[in-house]
Symmetry: C2
């Protein structure tokens, strides 16, 4: 057990390619830089790879340079496993808040990150590729087997119009008009597909919140006496749902 708290310092990288014994996976220039310069890995050194489908695999660096690298896949370290189906809809935020939101929502197990345009959304554009890269980096570090799916921005109306009626949508209601998080999530069936929605920095318009409350699949959630920033509201929804109705009782992955 003494190795049980060794720092998890090994490089763990997300790749697109299928993973199987003997396969060669390409590393992007950024990954090669990270592996060689940050993690100080050279040819023959070990790293872990995952692709969101085939679990996690042990691999060794075959080549590494400024233009990228290659790793040879050796054996499977973790089989693929079901992960929570938890979509986060969020009004895009200013850059620093959005960076934190994407990284933390990934750590907290969101399966999909979907920027939505609400009436008071002040940020009209989202760099989806940047969000994807941040989600990948967070997934690599938190030892998820998948990377959240990041969608291009759409209007909230459109997202709600196409919503599956069986997927409960928990909406952060900063007016305090909803059910307390502990009650909402204690009563929620476990490990079922869910969604979460947090509004923009200026909050929802009253008419928007009223319309949300009339949708049969929506539960408005109150988040206590402090006025949370949008990204913090997303963390509270995800953290409390995971603890009470998600995978919060599952153990951490075995140490590699």
């Amino acid at each position: 057990m003494s190795e049980a708290t060794e720092p998890r310092a090994k490089a763990r990288l997300y790749v697109a390619a299928p993973l199987a014994a003997g396969a060669v996976a390409l590393l992007t220039p950024d990954q090669a830089h990270y592996a060689s310069r940050v993690m100080r890995l050279g040819v023959g050194d070990r790293l872990s790879l995952f692709n969101g489908r085939d679990g996690e695999w042990r691999a060794r660096v075959k080549t590494v340079g400024r233009k990228g690298g290659e790793a040879v896949v050796e054996e499977r370290a973790r089989p693929p496993a079901a992960e929570p189906d938890a979509i986060l809809l969020f009004a895009p935020l200013k850059k620093s808040a959005l960076d934190v939101l994407v990284a933390k929502a990934t750590e907290l197990g969101a399966s999909d990150l979907r920027p939505v345009l609400t009436r008071r959304t002040a940020v009209a554009r989202v760099n989806v590729e940047r969000l994807r890269a941040q989600a990948i980096e967070a997934a690599e570090q938190c030892e998820r087997l998948t990377v959240p799916d990041v969608r291009p921005m759409e209007t909230l109306e459109r997202a709600l119009g196409a919503w599956e009626g069986t997927r409960r949508l928990f909406v952060a209601d900063e007016t305090g008009g909803g059910v307390a998080a502990a009650d909402a999530f204690s009563a929620a069936p476990r490990a079922r597909p869910v969604g979460f929605l947090v509004g923009p920095e200026g909050g929802f318009e009253r008419s928007e919140l009223d319309a949300l409350g009339r949708l049969p699949f929506v539960t408005r959630v109150a988040l206590g006496p402090r006025i949370l920033r949008a990204e913090t509201a997303a963390f509270v929804l995800l953290a409390c749902w995971q603890a009470l109705a998600g995978d919060g009782r599952a153990p951490p992955p075995p140490r590699a």
Copy 2:
């Protein structure tokens, strides 16, 4: 009710002075800059003040300039109220992670922020004044009536040696060796003084974690299958405790 979701754009500032009708409160140069340049307030405009003791008060700008300003206190908007007694002990982190930790822990209602030196703490110094300023800014924005008390760094041993035996200390155990957060906090008595401890980026040493587990006031908490960054572990502990055993069922403050 139509104003209920108006953006909370008003300036809300923390001041040191006693607050009472007719009192004059001094604004620091930073606060005066924020009031005049960011919030576009001029002489006679309204703002809110709090000092951690006297509740929240309506006030008006009396003077505002580059060297500071003054506000005249008018009437009380919110009486003082009890807030959770929830100490967060944390190994200091790199700057960007520490900034996020302090801001979010303040939003999530930590009463005390106490940096502690653990065996693997990589960051040996903490700028306490900087943390205080960040805690104040977060408290101003999340509408708390208090500002977390920020202490200078001490060793973990010293903090534990002086710990009150009646205050339960929930320790984030990244090895998965503890009680699931939902179970730990569902079983916790409500609104009692508590503490939380999160380790450094490299985790606790095994011997450190074992020693923590032997302390009668410690509960080790498992945080699910993903390996959370230290600041994220702090959010999960605070968010889940507040929801289940803290003030998560309290309403947000009335709109000013």
